[in-house]
């Protein structure tokens, strides 16, 4: 086994253990929308149908957790505001629900949280695969990219709760990986079909998967050059399985709500308090908006209940800024031949350049999607950016790699991983554990 793969196995073991802590330490149903997703799952598992907005309501036996749900006042039925989500996650979790049906909702919820951990592990593995796909021979990235994803606290949090987010993140991560393979292969048919299946499955998990579409278009142009006929062929190969898999769901949405998202109905449910903060450009330029998304990316556990301190956030921000600086240096400073011969990462092939652009584009599109969502919904959140976490990790770790002299890459990688572990230690000792009584 290659050393980096050995490290990956170790990392996955560590990750699984850490995730169990996340599962156990957060009180039941405190994760964002856990109550709503659990209620959705119960309808799928017991009534063999998907819930409908404006018709279905929250189950009364979960009333003690109403403070973790939106718009659920005491004495009134709580709206099933997660009902417009696609059904795949709930279908996958239904066997777990059936097997644990006799245990009661709280215990069931812990088991369902645990069932999310494999999807988190899948994301970590795909981070490793993506790093190896872009820079096949680089150990620094092969270690630090999956470590960065595994030790990102909010991604970890997603992979320890009852929520379809982590499955959507895993599918999006797989799409990014296959996209890079397709870029290298010139959009081979198998990759196109694979991406089509993943897009279909992704759309059947969460609507955020739609943000992959501009990337697919850009990748086909980069991989195939100016050949519209080949673009159309690739588009067809992707579209057919994607539509075949996700089409029925969108037909259901259209028949049920008269639209393809259910968002107008959600807006109607939230009309008493949903006042978006501005237009697309206003949010895009808004420093407060960006700052809040940054806070949510690292803290704000629960429904923005547990914020991180300014000092910790500034330290994280400084580290990210350093990585971005490194990335800019990587892009702007040409490598001389001698250094490039020693370190191939410094002189990427054209397909690698295209892959890095796609990863960058992925981050940009995902953030713009968060902004766009914010123009309709006040409760837009950073987690809608999370599907692109693997792309962000590759780019940031490439930046870190640029700043660390080559002879210190081994130590630099170790310091990076230890730093991320330290972040978790701080999170648990200074925030998550002390906050427990306040939930």
């Amino acid at each position: 086994m290659k050393p980096s793969r050995t490290l990956l196995v170790g990392l996955l073991c560590l990750y699984a253990a850490k995730q169990m802590l996340f599962v156990a330490w957060f009180p039941p149903f405190t994760g964002h929308d856990e109550v709503a997703h659990f209620a959705y799952l119960r309808i799928v598992a017991t009534e063999h149908r998907v819930p409908v907005l404006m018709q279905d309501t929250m189950p009364e036996d979960l009333g003690e957790f109403r403070r973790f749900a939106l718009d659920w006042e005491e004495g009134a039925p709580g709206p099933m505001y997660a009902a417009n989500h696609p059904p795949l996650y709930y279908a996958v979790m239904t066997p777990v629900y059936w097997l644990s049906a006799h245990l009661g909702p709280t215990t069931q919820q812990y088991l369902l949280r645990t069932a999310a951990i494999p999807f988190g592990m899948l994301v970590v593995m795909l981070a490793y695969k993506l790093a190896k796909a872009v820079f096949p021979d680089d150990r620094f990235l092969a270690v630090t990219v999956p470590a960065g994803v595994a030790l990102q606290p909010q991604i970890s949090y997603e992979a320890a709760m009852v929520n379809n987010d982590i499955v959507a993140i895993a599918i999006y991560s797989a799409l990014l990986y296959v996209l890079v393979l397709a870029l290298r292969s010139g959009f081979a048919a198998r990759h196109c079909i694979g991406m089509g299946v993943l897009v279909g499955v992704g759309l059947l998990t969460k609507g955020t998967t739609l943000t992959i579409l501009p990337l697919l278009a850009a990748a086909s142009v980069l991989a195939l050059g100016w050949q519209p006929w080949l673009w159309m062929r690739a588009a067809g190969l992707v579209a057919v399985p994607a539509i075949a898999i996700s089409g029925p769901w969108y037909l259901f949405l259209y028949r049920t709500y008269g639209n393809l998202s259910g968002f107008p109905q959600i807006q109607q449910l939230q009309q008493s308090w949903n006042f978006p903060d501005g237009t697309f450009l206003e949010l895009l330029y808004g420093l407060d908006f960006a700052t809040m998304r940054f806070r949510e990316t690292w803290g704000e556990f629960g429904w923005r209940r547990l914020p991180l301190g300014d000092g910790l956030l500034m330290s994280i921000g400084a580290a990210i800024l350093c990585a971005l600086v490194g990335l800019m240096i990587y892009a702007a400073v040409p490598a001389d031949r001698i250094r490039a011969a020693e370190d191939p990462v410094l002189l990427p092939a054209r397909w690698q350049v295209a892959a890095l652009w796609l990863l960058t584009l992925s981050c940009i599109v995902s953030y713009l999607a968060v902004v766009q969502f914010g123009t309709s919904f006040q409760l837009t959140q950073a987690r809608y950016f999370f599907p692109t976490v693997n792309a962000a990790a590759v780019l940031l770790m490439l930046g870190v790699r640029t700043l660390v002299p080559r002879r210190w890459h081994y130590h630099g990688g170790a310091v990076t991983v230890v730093g991320l572990l330290g972040l978790h230690a701080i999170l648990f000792t200074s925030y998550i554990i002390p906050f427990y009584p306040q939930w």
Binding site: L224, G278, V333, R350, V353
Partner: protein, 659 residues
């Protein structure tokens, strides 16, 4: 060809800015209900602009009378010029002279503000040229500067054009100009460049002494960048570096000598209200981001680092080090609030220089990324496509901001103008109030109808001492009135300035009043209505039985002359202390009946001189002493020497300096 296109882009931005700011001196017409038309200067009316126009106009009038002003008598009891130095007024008077006096100072001020806003174009050109970067990079920096308005104290359009803090911004630009010049001089040895650097540094110091911090960090950065590195033995010998730095520092100190000497001598008399502070490090980071936007800040950090990985780039490297040092100093100054170290420095006002460096480094990084722009794969990007694309986006943003920038983030928005009825009324009221006030009394202006400080236009309209209910800036904390000297320069209630005690204490003879204080004034038994303006926004009142600026026990003063730097009173008295309701300063000298007399400072910051019983002739004059004359002489020598170097300086051989 490319150079011409970029030059055309500079012209394009200049034209857009000049049109948006309506920069060319004009007058506006104001039409009254009865059909009468008034012509008033059409200039910036917001925030601090009135103060600066009045100072320039006062300077112009002093010069017209053959005087070199040392004391401004018209502002809340008067202040010495060194406490708000005359760098900007001198430049505005210079521009007025170049315009052959055809336009009023208010209109010249607008043109000058526009020129200051455009000046960084030249600065960025100098910096990019020194770094061997193409002209388009300088244009990108300039376009970013124009597009990013910043906030109130952040050096952009908002601070300069809306807030009117022109001294701060102009001084920051002058200080930043020193960076490429000093870098060039230290590395190349051209004394012509040294002369230019000294002129810029002297101007920066004389315009705003807090520029000394910026100059200090530039000096440190130049030493670190150009000084010989022990490891590589490259660079200029440290001896040469320090000699050259010393020459420029010395020459600029000569140029700014009147200011520096006065501040050194009288700094204990100076007081500045710290209006704002950075509450925490995140607060500073937030302000730094707002000043230039998050993308430009991130690019600048990348630029600061990349400048050390790319060959050449002496200015970018110097800017990077200067930026780091400046941020450290800003945070140090901020944390020193309340201590005796630099008590008069408000850290938030240091942002403009930081902003200029950040924008340059951001543009540098942006350009460095764009020249290597390639999307990879099978798509071949034409050379320079990235630069051309970014240039096009920036040009569109300048020309058509609504397309790309939300309204509250746009620059070049229209600022309130003086061409409005309230200004007609104001000029009318101030003129009539001055005519109403008996000789030897001051005029009190209360309220504002335009922006925050309309009162401060008064000295540009009529001569003589003025008091205001909101005086924007002041230099000591003893002024008598209902306000908190620690944190404001305005009376808590406007009515408090209409009380008998206040009017007597400050020798107010007439009042021009606007806004919610008008009914209070109308109801006051101390005041007598005299006039209401044609647009019914200002009233003029005479003070019943006013007190004059100079009084003494007994029969009193029968004749008085109040000039800019001279007070004379004649009369008979019973002996005792004469009260002079004008601010004390050690430079005031008094004679009583031809004999020198001691001038004492009273508790409210005014003066007191003992006078004998019987006939009294009291004269006070604000006089330069020997040190002041030395300072003036040094400044003259400094200017001559610097201009001489610029004119006749020749390049030394740089080879001899190099290892």
């Amino acid at each position: 060809m490319v150079g011409r296109i970029v030059a055309a882009l500079f012209v394009f931005v200049f034209v857009v800015v000049i049109l948006h700011m309506d920069a060319l001196p004009t007058t506006g017409s104001v039409l009254a209900a009865d059909g009468q038309v008034w012509q008033v200067p059409d200039t910036f009316a917001s925030m601090d602009h009135p103060f600066h126009v009045s100072r320039a106009e006062t300077l112009r009038q002093s010069l017209a009378h053959g005087e070199m002003p040392q004391w401004f008598a018209d502002h809340q009891g008067g202040y010495p010029v060194e406490f708000y130095p005359l760098g900007v007024p001198w430049m505005e008077v210079g521009l007025w002279t170049l315009a052959l006096g055809m336009w009023p100072m208010a209109a010249i001020h607008k043109l000058f503000v526009t020129l200051v806003f455009l000046a960084p174009a030249g600065l960025f050109y100098l910096m990019a040229r020194q770094d061997g970067r193409p002209l388009v990079m300088a244009w990108m920096a300039f376009a970013l500067l124009v597009l990013l308005p910043g906030q109130q104290l952040q050096g952009g359009y908002t601070e300069l054009v809306y807030m009117g803090l022109i001294s701060n911004v102009a001084a920051s630009i002058a200080a930043c100009v020193v960076l490429p010049l000093l870098s060039s001089f230290v590395s190349g040895g051209s004394w012509r460049v040294a002369g230019a650097a000294a002129l810029a540094a002297g101007l920066a110091l004389y315009t705003n002494p807090r520029s000394a911090l910026a100059l200090l960090v530039i000096g440190i950065a130049v030493v670190l960048v150009h000084g010989r590195q022990p490891s590589t033995r490259s660079g200029v010998a440290l001896g040469h570096v320090f000699t050259r730095l010393g020459a420029v520092a010395g020459l600029s100190a000569l140029i700014a000598a009147p200011e520096l000497l006065s501040l050194a001598r009288f700094s204990d008399l100076y007081y500045f209200v710290r209006y704002s502070t950075y509450e925490s490090l995140p607060d500073f980071i937030r302000a730094s981001t707002q000043a230039v936007s998050l993308p430009v800040l991130v690019l600048a950090l990348g630029g600061a680092a990349a400048s050390w990985r790319l060959p050449g780039l002496p200015v970018a490297r110097t800017a990077a080090l200067a930026l780091i040092a400046y941020v450290a100093i800003t945070l140090g100054v901020n944390s020193a609030e309340g201590s005796t170290l630099l008590p008069q420095l408000e850290a938030t006002r240091l942002m403009p220089f930081q902003r200029l460096l950040t924008i340059y480094l951001g543009a540098f990084m942006l350009h460095a990324l764009l020249v290597r722009f390639d999307v990879g794969g099978r798509v071949r990007v034409p050379p320079h496509a990235g630069v051309v694309g970014a240039t096009a986006v920036l040009a569109i943003a300048v020309l058509w901001p609504a397309l790309l920038i939300p309204v509250y983030h746009r620059s070049l928005w229209p600022v309130e103008s003086t061409a409005q009825p309230a200004m007609v009324d104001f000029a009318d009221a101030v003129t009539r109030a001055r005519a109403t006030a008996p000789t030897g009394t001051a005029v009190l202006v209360i309220g504002t109808e335009i922006s925050q400080h309309q009162q401060l236009w008064a000295p540009s309209i009529a001569a003589g001492p003025f008091f205001y209910d909101d005086w924007m800036w002041y230099w000591h904390a003893s002024h008598a009135g209902v306000y908190e000297p620690c944190c404001e320069s305005a009376y808590a209630t406007r009515g408090s300035a209409l009380q008998r005690g206040y009017l007597q204490r400050h020798a107010v003879g007439a009042i021009a009043v606007a806004g919610d204080a008008r009914p209070v004034a109308a109801a006051s038994p101390e005041l007598e209505w005299r006039h209401t303006g044609p647009f019914d926004t200002y009233d003029v009142f005479a003070v019943r039985q006013p007190t004059t600026i100079v009084t003494w026990p007994g029969a009193g003063v029968i004749d008085m002359v109040v000039d800019r730097e001279r007070l004379q009173a004649r009369g008979a008295g019973a002996g005792g202390p004469a009260s002079i309701r004008h601010n004390w300063h050690p430079r005031w000298q008094a004679t009583v009946n031809g004999e020198a007399a001691t001038v004492a400072r009273t508790g409210d910051g005014y003066m007191s001189v003992p006078v004998p019983a019987g006939s009294v002739e009291l004269a006070l004059s604000y006089r330069r002493d020997a040190v002041d004359w030395i300072g003036l002489g040094a400044a003259g020598a400094g200017w001559l020497l610097a201009f001489g170097l610029c004119a006749i300086g020749r390049k030394d051989s740089a080879a001899g300096d190099r290892a």
